[in-house]
Amino acid sequence: MSTDTDRTPDHSSNTTEVSGVEIVFDEVVKTYPGLQYPAVDRLSITIPAGEIVMFVGPSGCGKTTSLKMINRLLEPTSGTITIDGVDIRKRDDDDLRRHIGFVIQGGSLFPHMTVAQNIAMVPKLLKWDKSRTADRVEELLDLVGLDPGRFRDRFPRELSGGEQQRVGVARGLAADPPVILMDEPFGAVDPITRQRLQDELLTIQEALRKTIVCVTHDIDEAIKLGDRILITEASAKVAQYDTPANILSSPANDFVRDFVGAGSALKTLSLSRVDEVQLYHQSSARVGESLAEVTRRARDHGDRSVILLDRNDRPLDWVWLSDLEGDQIREPRHDRDMLTVSHLATLNDALNSMLVSIHDGVVVTGGNDKYVGVAGFTEVTQLITRKATEAHERETADIARAPSDEELDEQIDEVPDAGSGDDDGDDDDRQRPEGE
């Protein structure tokens, strides 16, 4: 489908080397004693190396069961799973698990161990030496955006939910496994934190390119994070396994259509990333700089406010020039985190963040959480409008266009739907005002 190109510069076009490996499910069945129907019924899919594949579906459809068979927390009743071409039954189960990251809801940290000890667990099992492990812990804390000096020796109960989840992700990545399994990793945190954690995962993945299998019941999360989405019905029966763009533009059947839900045109906005927005380079000021200098620079640039940055160019605050005092730029007094979005965040995320900001824009960060610019309200809404118009035009064009024979074969199931004008007519009515 033409919508394929919609996706932001895809991971596959990245220069980073893929460190993940392929996972293949072949006719995998799992039955539980006492459950009349199989929890997983002949699941056959290929999870490509270096991609994020999201498992979504209604509760109880077998997502967790499928996931846990990958690291042999559960054994299939029949069928085979291979990782990088090797049947997982041929590997020692503990050894296999030490080479697969496992992240579950809430982080599930060991409460009696410090953050560092939690992260160091798998390296310890793999008998890494102390200094290598310690270096790795520092590196990982940095990667997930936690200051090692502040967090290394804390206990889980001294962390917020979001921080615990970050440590959980760091622990999953500790021994640099090619495969990471995640079971509803961000289900237990508030929406703003969830959005940040998702952004961070995307940023991390951009650099590492692991194979990540992530279970969620949230279709929006799946659209945002997934290179591919597996939508399953009961017993893990595949309803559709495709890219987010294709699932949104051409759902395979009514189940998928229902599951994706209303407003799929709006959902395509989740496919557009903040880095498509024309960013404004709001003046910035580093802690320690002279106030006079900063003021002059900002005025020259025509700004009345500046973005405060720390030594690593990470944004700390967005302040009015008139509120700055003293000779030098000082650290903000408050300790709360600044609301920012990553350049990989969706347009929806950016819009949400703006709604709680006092400025009419949101600060955008790039790799290592460095400041890159400001996405203005006008620019974001204009892009949203343009995307909506495009999506709408494409839909009408698709309906009008006479499909070729080949496509007709492919879409044979959908033809009656596409033809029954009533539904689509309603859709058109609803969408037209947005486009105009």
Binding site: R98, F102, F110, L125
Partner: protein, 213 residues
């Protein structure tokens, strides 16, 4: 009574030492037994009712009766004392160890397994440290109780302050009868308090700061 204490100071302190030594060693042995049994019980669900039965019935068994039953089997002296004290000391620790080990969240255990931690390591690094505060609470109850049980063990001519109590009882109406009983009782109470203080310190030192209440 002061004169009584001064006259027999050497004997009293020796008996006090024996008493504490008997209790400490029996409680240590009991801890090892209780934690091992608890590990078994929590690994095999079928064994749990058995453990519950033993702890509840065991605690209702009069210690004097158990001692009487043991005498024909193992004779008199230190051995029956150790057996009886260890038996009673095991029960509260076992009960707490089972509760403590069972209260470790299944999510954490799954995490541990998912990270490739073996059974033994999961026990040593996760289950035991997490159950530890509950186990130590059992240990403290057990130690207090054992101080009293050890006194009764003197009936079988075991070591410790209990001997004084029985001497006092045997001489009721005699010149020093009350002194014997009183000195032993007060001595046991003081020693029990000291031991408890010691355990409190150990509890602080061996419980992770992350789970301290």
């Amino acid at each position: 009574m002061w004169q009584f204490v001064v006259d027999r100071w050497a004997d009293i302190s020796y008996r006090s030492f024996q008493h504490v030594s008997l209790v400490v060693q029996s409680v240590l042995l009991a801890t090892v037994i209780a934690v091992s049994v608890a590990l078994l019980v929590t690994s095999y669900a079928k064994l749990k009712p058995v453990a519950n039965f033993i702890t509840s019935v065991g605690l209702t068994l009069p210690s004097l009766a158990l001692l009487g039953l043991l005498l024909p089997l193992v004779g008199i002296g230190t051995l029956p004392a150790v057996i009886v004290v260890t038996f009673y000391a095991t029960l509260p620790i076992l009960r707490n160890a089972v509760v403590g080990l069972e209260s470790v969240s299944p999510n954490l255990l799954e995490s541990a397994r998912g990270m490739g931690m073996g059974q033994l390591r999961t026990f040593a690094d996760v289950r035991l440290p997490l159950a530890w505060p509950v186990i130590v609470a059992g240990l403290r109850v057990s130690t207090q109780m054992s101080m009293g049980v050890a006194a009764i063990a003197a009936y079988a001519l075991g070591p410790g302050l209990g001997g004084y109590i029985f001497t006092g009882l045997a001489q009721i109406g005699g010149a020093n009868a009350v002194n014997y009983a009183l000195v032993a009782t007060i001595g046991i109470v003081i020693l029990a308090l000291l031991l408890d203080l010691g355990l409190l310190v150990i509890e602080r030192l061996t419980t992770s700061k992350g789970i301290r209440i």
